[in-house]
Point group: C2
Chain length 276, copies 2
């Protein structure tokens, strides 16, 4: 079974200046991982056409199977993702008929609801339906701006809005089935245990040993306290093989490490199943 | 006044698989922005030597003035930042005398405190003092692994631990003064207002107008509700010029946009000073 790579590009000055905590990156990383994809890189870039184009081109050069972007699809001047995508792909921007229909219907609904505003397709509204040539709009069930799908040689790029509930809705409705196809029945399994009374530096050789004996299990320690007063979460994960075998394999690694930790004077304080 | 660029590289599989929400990226982005630096890119990469080296090399190629990395400095096998840095810079790894002293003293303190463990400089512990040649260890006031500073042509790279309290402590004690030097008295000022009863697409041309009239102020809308039931935060920021002038300039832009919004039927529901 080969690994299917995915990269995430998050677009927005607010992410770089620390105004907004990027929960989208975590959400998408988690969902893609649960689906058995390997999230290889996450990049935050500013609302600048050149930067967006450059980041997309770099990711394409790495021949990543999937690229997901978030942010920059809205009506304001600083929503520049589609311009950046057009530049990266060297494709013209044009009003996309399907996207126009989607956007129009949204504003008709809004007008009916509010009984006030007539549906005028102003330039900012039209902007959300202006896509790079040969791309496909994806319906936005909870917002206005459609997502956009582009195929570039071996890569599928999907641009999603930055508003979390819109991103998540399009992801679940349209993106998840696209990502599922090639990844087949790959699964991601994980478990965590928490230990005390053993320093991370003393844990290191024990983890090495367990990873050597369990080559398909990845074990990583996350120190929560200090080295001198240690409280460490140990995270076990595996993506390879059949589901039943994965659980078995994780269990074996957890047992082996737990035993070694106890012998070294450490204490296992909790065992959590954190499978998705 | 020229812009001083900074990039952040966050190292750790847990960030890519969505296990951990990356609060370090936000914290560092905010602090650097407050100091007047331009955060140009934030990249998350896995615990892999090749990937770490590649990301560092790409950032160096962009001639970024400062690179901050977090994560991967600890004692376990998956802490690979220094190996990646050594590969990127083509410098050998060797036990750094200053770093060794720092690490040794930590373990002596831990041993005194616990009355049990003797200070044995095992391989995992020695690892934290094994730095690429010609780099400088930075004291870690609250943890074990020192930070690491490297000078590469026009770039200063600083590697910090991934544990938030350790990263923050080294940042405040040692990194902030380094970043301050060239940035001089540059400041970042920001304000936000929240508006209702106006769609983001109707707001777009008003923001365009205000940005045209206030070229040093950046205005960005952050929709919190839906387009049809809008609740929008509008964020104003500026980094250029003297502090008094900046506040004045922001105030003028806020006033102008607030007026235009009211004329268009929108409602200003809050004005928050969010200056750092």
């Amino acid at each position: 079974m080969t690994t299917i790579d995915l990269e995430i590009i998050c677009i927005g000055n607010e992410l770089l200046i620390g105004k907004t905590l990027n929960t989208n990156a975590q959400w998408m990383g988690k969902r893609a991982t649960q689906m058995g994809l390997a999230v290889r890189r996450i990049t935050f870039i500013p609302d600048e056409i050149q930067e967006i184009a450059m980041a997309i081109k770099e990711t394409l050069k790495r021949k990543t199977r999937f690229i997901l972007t978030t942010g920059g699809l809205g009506p304001t001047f600083d929503d520049k993702t589609l311009e950046g995508l057009a530049l990266a792909l060297n494709r013209k921007l044009e009003v996309n008929r399907k996207a126009l229909k989607m956007v129009k219907e949204k504003y008709e609904t809004y007008a009916r609801r509010s009984h006030t505003e007539t549906v005028e397709l102003t330039k900012p509204r039209l902007k959300m339906a202006t896509l790079p040539k040969e791309t496909v709009p994806l319906p936005n069930p909870v917002g206005t701006a459609p997502g956009v799908q582009a195929e570039i040689e071996q890569t599928t790029l999907i641009a999603l809005p930055g508003v979390p509930r819109e991103m998540e809705a399009i992801f679940e409705e349209t993106v998840a089935p696209i990502l599922m196809q090639p990844s087949g029945d790959r699964n991601f399994f994980e478990r965590s245990i928490c230990v005390e009374d053993i320093m991370e530096s003393s844990l290191a050789p024990l983890i090495d040993e367990v990873m050597k004996d369990n080559p398909d299990v990845y074990v990583k320690s996350h120190p929560k306290g200090e080295e001198s007063n240690p409280h460490i979460e140990i995270h076990f994960s595996t993506t390879l093989g059949k589901a039943e075998r994965q659980e078995e394999r994780l269990e074996r690694a957890v047992m082996q490490l737990s035993g070694a930790i106890k012998i070294s004077g450490g204490k296992i304080i909790s065992k959590n199943m954190t499978d998705p």
